[in-house]
Symmetry: D2
Subunit: 466 residues, 4 copies
């Protein structure tokens, strides 16, 4: 045995390692940013005592918005308030070691230009690793030929919206884009809401004097999500494209996915924390605007359906759609269903809330928790086996988790620039205490220790089946 | 008893009267174009001996194309070959006493102008009665305000296509049109096929060198119909509009209707004879182009599903989408999936084929036959109780039916200007021998006796539930 | 014209005739117990002025219990309180001209003996016509060979229970019985509740001290109905037997029927008035026992599903399962879920309640009302075209209906021996004012005028499709 | 570092470790029958070179029949031909390190006595580890009180058949048994086929002279499986019992599970290799009897549905229902559907066939293969985390797998006493070369090296969610 055997840059000692399919007590030896040894005796430059803690794969939140230059627009309008720096600090603080950013081209910009733009920002600012998802908003000015080229460079996702932009008037181009993406091994991510139904419902509410935020769910009805999901599933069938439904929010939309899977479509489902914990009655609160996302919060039976789907494995991932606001920008007097500002900060709370409401309350197993927050995303987004589990050779992306730590959600504790949480005051059991990214401790008991710019833009392989 | 009691303009003696819910032997007395007495003793100016025959309500074919100026266009291109004269002669010859014409505005024409145009043509030419369905093809040039106005004048239907025209780029306008139609008591008729999916599938076939007619079904895949049907159902739910799915062709699309009904949507389903008798293998025949309609012929299991739906009452009507061609125009050497000419003549054969394949072969009851070819359409299209059954006070629209007459389908026997039938040579049992429209014998054993222009354009009431 | 033409035993003048597919103003001429003439001029021995009234086919309630010797048993226990006399008086008073009695063999009795027993009672006592349904409760003592023999004699139904009796231990014999019934043209009627699930649920409630009537629905859970319905549907598929699900009460059970129909099974669905108007919260009332039937009242969403199914034609008939009790016998202090006495009187209220809650409130069309209360049952039970509609040659079974008459439900107004109604005090619009059975006025404005024994036991043909 | 660190009883060097959620290159160090170290440097008493090989968790086949004294009975009739010795040799040869035996009480025997009987046999004979599943065949003689007692002793499953035995006449007792099992943390395993439907269908075939083996599928129709599955799902809902459907064979039955899961039932699905590779046409082969299992082989669309379910995770496990016959006993001249001998040997072929047809052909991922053959069963059957994955502290149950080895199926190569394989001659890619049970090499390149009696009867914990 060589002299350096058993010596590591970092060791995690005494913890319980948990993956999507295993749970065992073992020490970990980390060298060169990777896990090198599991079990046996390890000794390191730095040793972390994980006694009484869980050692989890670092979370992968495949759906965030960290580009300040993005919507909602320009010229003095307030915007989302996290950039790659503050946003990835929030990730680190929440036990998340990879985020997937929605990269929107600016007007006239190509997909490639947008990716280059965000890649530069992310390389400069990020504290943890970053995936970039090019968002096709206007096929007229965003050449589809960029799609396979981006895949070749490791950006193996394509995102589009059915709810706005070019899809409304040229859905055929999106079929072609989806086909090209599939041919290049990419995963197509779709926001499924029918633009025409939303516009009609919103117009009717306004025309009838029912534009108040309390009626927000009626402006984006479940039928609009269900119908669009059915159409996205049909697109998946027609093109053979592996398709990922983002932030699915309703029982009806999940039924459409079930039906598609039964017919053989390759579908993955993401839901969003909001839809697991809150229902539409919230919008009637005086500052109900603070809960506004797209789609809206749904009904109690939708919540039940999503938890069942998560427990059964029908829901593959839980991601935040983190789109943070300062409260004063988000909740504005006189807002109506046409002027709401969608988006909620959730990077700091994704893992603790899901652990607390899901695992601690017995709704899902600990393994399903890991699968839904790390392993499944790693496979779907072409990061596997480098990320998403704890394995020899994999990146040492880890969350040291205290399953017994109970404390309330307090926005003031968090790293995001957002200054409120939709869960403010909820008692939560289970928090990350240390977060490790490629062997570096990037978060340690309340303090972000990862340096700006240490995060990298990930070059990914093709999407893989679970 | 007054001297004129028991004396009628016309009597039908000795037949078996059949309606959607009754079957009995009785004589009919007709006066002033209406049935005045059922049973008892009748004596008339003219007496028809219906011994051994069935006396059925005249058929209502709510879906035909009899406007020569319609698509496929202008400038020397061949066109559909029946006008209101030849088309309504074909109706009379087939036991049909009411047809519903799709009235397309010419470029720049409003819905009202199109209706006025076709009303003039129909009043001039028609042999039996005519409904006119305004077709919304371009909301930009066809003001939606015409919709309630047309309803007020008795044109209580609105037709639109999801497969082409303005719907592709402005579906929201169609939601508004549907809402207005519903508010005016109208029935919205929808052609459910997803334009983008059709375009994509067609492009792919052409790009891959598979444009031959044998591949026609792949150019308009079932998924395109199913997905569009689901969307039309969602539109119906969102607006509360009674919605009539035209020429539904697949088991999957019928499932979407079932699901919508379960959720409380007001839906009616039409199928088309082609889909009950023929399957997609036909397109591989040397002159397979002759079977081309939109949607395409489907698979054997779709045929089974449609028959079951018809037997169960889930399919409400069987209508032709009569769009006749001369064979030489329809079947052209070198045609591919982009140059096909859709449409098939079926007015002469609608009732005999359905009786023969449905009633005589035990697939549906005689009452279901009457319901699907007359009574249901009368209710749905606001003609009831004036038409659609045999009742005191109702129009004397009757088909004297020989249930034992067996003869082959021969296009040369028919009244349509089309010179071929997709069923050429099929042995058919059950044919109309006399057709009576408002008390006039308009067809008598092979000869059309109704005069040109005796047909009227019907002013209809609101759509009614079955 | 012969001297006697136009002279009738009875005429109905000035009314609006309504059938399942027609509505028109016409006089009716009746002779020899049959409708002979519709429209034209009629003059009769007796003339009824039906101005402002509807003239409907007399109701057919295919599901009643009028055999005093039936369950719940013997030896001093209280029993259902209507016999063929009082029960058919209640029918006449409620506009019903045909009832279908469940004829249970006594211990050791054969099906044939039971039918002969009830036939004798009915011929002696009945005021309107009676169908007898042999109930197979014990294949060990009731030879299956009686089944085709009974069909040959015009008793073309076979009823069985999945919830008790021989089915529990010998379901295979019921498959054989169903097969024999189908071969003889019979309709098989099935009470779909899983006996084992009921027993288990009841035992658990009792063991846990939750036996109070308020928990009655939990003792016969929806899952027990849904599961048994699925099994009955499978039996129908396996044997090809036309199958009629009695008193279907839940959305889930209706889904099972939908699925069966989609697969091609020949299924008909009956629901029961209780399930359309009342929900399970009723059982928590102090005398909630008065609402107890089998299955229990269900939830609000089940009620919605049944109304939708009725409007859509998925529910074919509404029948009472009339099983009347005196209040003092039905509501007994200390009762629990094991000692409840199932059954409710509903013959007097079937038609008025359904008209008032269904037609007058716009939930179903007038035609659907007629179909569900007369026409569909006539076809399904082999009475057609003799009964179930108003047609020349058909029995003159009629209800003269005042659609404007509004009065509260008062058990004291009714003919049944039951002394309470579950709808006591409900304001109901639409009541029969005169009931006519085979040309005899059997009920006239509050008074039963039909004589005891004038009713006949009907000999029926094979079941027919709708 | 202590002197013995890094020294192991056994090391596996150079292989690619594959689990349900990970794939990585690492050496394994094994000590005391357990995996102690993954990665890093290991040196052992014995070293296995796994270069170019996969290192998989040993298979868990939860469904086998290795009790010679079991059905089909006694007195000279031929029987299944593997005991715990030959059967677990076949397991070892097939890469399987745990089998789950169906332990039927003999007539009059209690569940506990049966378990004790088989435990003694297994401890004496088994080469790999054994779970014992008590089979409740007669609640009248098998006291239900044994159920929680057996759970307390580590036998945390209860199996029953809906297709024969006590369930037919006393299903209520099975509800109670299921309830008790759930309360004790047990998994209930159910054979879902409706006994009455099978008996009826079989009787009809025989009566009509269609008893030949070619008609075997008609004697146990899909409807019998679908219906029973629906009922088992309802039992699961009523009792809250985690329920495992054994050898699910049809698309329709899988639909029932989907529907149950959607309603919140805790369900797991096993399918069987036969149903993934073969269709019902096989029974028409001259010796079609050799394929006979219960349920029968199904149709091509069922096969597609099962593969999709496996790929999606809707099917949790693939187990053999290994019930081996000698060809001469299995295929007997003159057999008909009443005299067939059900059961097929599959322990030797379970893993290679699934790897070859599933992983190598791209139908399922390598991870799904591991999950379906090891990890999921470990969790469901209370063996986790001791078995089912490769983790520090877990039993060193491993299959060294050659993914490139291609050879035909030859029954003569196998360890089972059965002398034919239903897949004889199929070219299969991917075979185990070495099998390790708790650190012992029990199979090595064609030779079983594990000693008789080294296997243990496993004491298990409660069933766990996936």
């Amino acid at each position: 045995m060589g002299a350096d055997q058993g010596r590591f840059d970092l060791t995690i000692r005494g913890g319980t390692v948990v993956t999507a399919d295993a749970r065992f007590e073992a020490d970990l030896g980390i060298r060169g940013g990777r896990v090198v040894q599991i079990g046996g005796q390890v000794r390191g430059e730095r040793e972390i005592d994980a006694s009484g803690k869980l050692v989890l794969p670092g979370g992968i939140d495949a759906h965030v918005h960290l580009t300040l230059s993005d919507p909602p627009g320009d010229s003095g309008e307030p915007r989302w308030c996290d950039d790659f720096h503050s946003g990835t600090r929030a990730a680190a603080g929440g036990g998340i070691t990879t985020v997937g950013n929605m990269t929107f081209p600016h007007p006239g910009q190509t997909l490639r230009a947008a990716i280059e733009r965000d890649a530069a920002e992310a390389e400069r600012d990020a504290v943890v690793d970053v995936m970039l998802h090019p968002v096709l908003t206007d096929p007229a000015t965003q050449p589809l030929g960029d799609i396979p080229a981006l895949a070749a460079e490791g950006h193996t996702t394509l995102k589009y919206f059915m709810s706005f932009g070019g899809f409304r008037t040229d859905p055929e181009a999106y079929l072609e884009a989806t086909r090209l993406a599939a041919g290049a091994g990419m995963l197509t991510m779709v926001h499924c809401e029918d633009a025409a139904m939303i516009a009609h419902a919103t117009d009717r509410l306004m025309a009838e004097g029912h534009g108040a935020i309390a009626n927000y769910p009626r402006s984006r009805p479940i039928a609009a999500e269900v119908s669009a999901t059915a159409r996205a599933v049909a697109f998946a069938e027609l093109t053979g494209a592996p398709t990922y439904v983002v932030h699915l929010s309703s029982a009806g939309a999940l039924d459409e996915v079930r039906r598609g899977r039964r017919r053989g479509a390759h579908l993955a489902v993401e839901t969003r924390p909001l839809y697991l914990y809150l229902t539409e009655e919230r919008f009637a609160e005086p500052d109900g605007a603070k809960y506004v996302g797209q789609p809206p919060l749904r009904r109690a039976d939708d919540v039940v359906a999503l938890w069942r789907g998560l427990a059964n494995g029908e829901v593959d991932t839980v991601c935040t759609d983190h789109a943070p606001w300062r409260y004063a920008d988000k909740v504005v007097s006189g807002m109506d269903v046409t002027t709401i500002r969608p988006g909620v900060a959730d990077l700091d709370t994704l893992l603790p809330m899901l652990y607390s409401e899901g695992v601690a309350k017995g709704r899902i197993s600990l393994h399903r928790f890991v699968a839904a927050t790390a392993t499944n995303a790693a496979k779907l987004f072409g990061l596997y086996p480098r990320k998403g589990t704890i394995a020899v050779g994999a990146d040492a992306d880890l969350a040291i988790w205290d399953p017994a730590l109970t404390k309330p959600v307090r926005a003031t504790d968090f790293q995001t620039n957002a200054d409120y949480s939709p869960y403010e005051g909820w008692e939560v059991t289970g928090w990350p205490v240390i977060t490790i990214s490629r062997g570096d401790v990037v978060y340690d008991n309340g303090r972000v220790t990862g340096s700006r710019g240490r995060g990298t833009v990930l070059r990914r392989g093709p999407t893989a089946s679970l």
